[in-house]
């Protein structure tokens, strides 16, 4: 396992993308350690009596040259709301990099499927795949077009397919309803996904039936993020495993889904 750090970052930029999504760019004074896509940070939320524990957030993007990382934050409760209201210049304490990461595929045709804040790790993953000679394609699911975040960044890396529940953009419905999925022999043989569990379960089943490798990233509730508290477990074929150290990225076949 790679070395973990506890350290302060400074917020360089807080950019609001939609009514509930914000991207924070954080800078560190020193060189960043190597991170891998799918890994996350445990972020301390100061100044909120309702957030005693840290909040786990995926590493959305990394720029080793400028020592910056990005976090994509969906405002769902007091912690994420507080984070989304932070201003540039303020400090943020991170424990990172944590957890397992998406693997490099042994096949060339991959699809990255994200829903909600589950798109967060996929930008970094797409960039990483590209750097390793693999062309990523993205399938993004959202409630409506107003919930789509930062598509241009993904488009720089590969094709972006869209579904929205209300049909306001792309295909109407859930990700599984997109044409790219609507075939028994799809044109990809590796599927990476992050998002709501029901979505990932559907994709896991889809992949199992077609013998496609499927890597999912779980968002279980965490207290420590480093394998100490055993609060974040998920049942696997080898018994309860910690989502924070044995995950968050799992091969779907390893889970009891």
């Amino acid at each position: 396992m790679s070395k973990k750090y506890i350290t302060d970052f400074v917020i360089l930029e807080n950019r609001r993308h939609t009514h509930e999504f914000v991207i924070l760019t954080l800078q560190h004074p020193e060189m960043l350690p190597q991170m891998f896509p799918g890994q996350f940070a445990e972020v301390r939320v100061d100044g909120s009596p309702q957030t005693y524990l840290r909040r786990p957030l995926s590493i959305h993007d990394v720029d080793y040259k400028n020592n910056t990382i990005k976090l994509l934050i969906q405002e769902v409760g007091p912690g994420t709301r507080r984070l989304a209201s932070m201003k540039s210049g303020e400090k943020l304490n991170l424990v990172y990099p944590l957890g397992t990461y998406y693997s490099l595929p042994d096949k060339k045709r991959v699809l990255l499927v994200g829903g909600g804040c589950g798109v967060a790790p996929l930008l970094f993953l797409g960039r990483y795949l590209k750097e390793n000679g693999i062309d990523p394609r993205f399938l993004v699911g959202a409630r409506s077009e107003n919930d789509l975040v930062e598509l241009d960044a993904y488009r720089e890396l590969g094709d972006v397919y869209i579904t929205t529940e209300d049909g306001s953009r792309g295909t109407r419905g859930f990700v599984i309803h997109h044409p790219v999925m609507k075939t028994f022999e799809p044109d990809f043989d590796w599927l990476y996904t992050c998002g709501p569990e029901p979505m990932m379960r559907v994709l896991a089943k889809y992949s199992r039936e077609r013998n496609i490798t499927c890597e999912v990233s779980l968002e279980n509730k965490m207290a420590c993020g480093i394998g100490a508290c055993l609060c974040c477990v998920t049942p696997t074929i080898e018994g309860n495993k910690c989502t924070c150290t044995d995950g968050p990225v799992f091969n779907a076949n390893y889970l009891k889904w």
Partner: protein, 304 residues
């Protein structure tokens, strides 16, 4: 140079800061954040007679300045602990105590006997106060006769340091502390978690799979401090205080109330480097107050 060393019975601690069972893994998880050898001791996870899967997810709920947990003693059992884990962690240059949890007196005795054979384990902490298992666990710690019975039985098979961890979910913790003292405990540690509960008002469901769970963190500190003070005023064996400790100031408060050492629990989750910083903070406190020996703080509370 200030002298931070304390003795808890036959255990010598370089300083009074230990880490609490279930909140510090096996120490290894914290290697990147704390110099483990700088701590007074660590207490590893609750160890049972055989492998336990623990309770179903969700096992955690956040509460105002605290958290509920319902881990339910997930661990690989004492045999795997002794054969696989202990060889890895025995080289930590600090006191590593094993937290022993059972469902029956026989199970406690079995685990303690096996640990007794591994001579370099300096002591055990008898967890008679876990609220998160159906059988045994807390019930031992909430009834005085059974607390005495399990302590006496384990005392017979375990010759080294025997610390007994008390439950706060009782009317009279002093009675139980005196009971286990009489039954041969070398020290008592307190408190374990308070039994609590959390509900999701949107889904009408409990936030823990087990409905109730153990409350820990700063929110319980006032209760812990009160119990430590009551017990330390009543027993002769050393008292190890814990419950919500997150800073050197918190640790000083427990020492003043009569604790000979402290354990840091949930705070490790919020700041994985906190235990080491509490050691440093204690030294700083002593320098600021011109105190040479930390033992001069213990029981120093002035209630006149």
């Amino acid at each position: 140079m200030v002298d931070l060393s304390v003795d808890i019975g036959n255990l010598q601690l370089k300083n009074p800061v230990m880490t609490a069972s279930g909140t510090f893994g096996y120490g290894e998880e914290y290697r990147d954040f704390v110099d483990i050898s700088a701590l007074g001791g660590i207490i590893v996870k609750g160890t049972t007679g055989s492998h336990r899967e623990g309770n179903p997810y969700p096992r955690m709920a956040e509460t105002p300045m605290g958290m509920l947990n319902a881990v339910g003693l997930q661990n690989k059992g004492v045999d795997v602990f002794l054969s696989e884990t202990w060889p890895r962690i025995r080289t930590f240059r600090t006191n590593v105590l094993v937290n022993v949890s059972g469902s029956t007196v026989e199970e406690y005795v079995e685990i303690a006997s096996k640990i007794a054979e591994v001579k370099d384990i300096p002591g055990i902490e008898l967890n008679i106060s876990c609220p998160n298992v159906k059988e045994g666990g807390m019930t031992f710690g909430t009834s005085c006769p059974s607390a005495i019975a399990v302590t006496r039985a384990v005392r017979e098979v375990f010759p080294r340091h025997l610390m007994v961890k008390l439950s706060p979910n009782v009317t009279d913790i002093v009675e139980i502390a005196k009971g286990v003292e009489g039954a041969g405990a070398d020290s008592v540690s307190l408190i374990n978690t308070l039994l609590g509960m959390a509900i999701d008002a949107e889904t009408w469901r409990p936030l823990l799979s087990t409905v109730t769970g153990g409350l820990s963190g700063p929110c319980i500190k006032p209760v812990a401090l009160r119990m430590v003070w009551q017990v330390a005023s009543a027993v002769k064996i050393p008292v190890v205080g814990l419950g919500g400790i997150s800073s050197a100031t918190d640790a000083v408060e427990f020492l003043l109330a009569g604790a000979s050492a402290v354990q840091v629990g949930t705070a490790n989750f919020v700041d994985p480097s906190v235990s080491g910083r509490i050691v440093d903070g204690l030294a700083g406190y002593m320098q600021r107050h011109n105190i040479e020996k930390i033992t001069d703080i213990i029981g120093g509370l002035d209630v006149s």
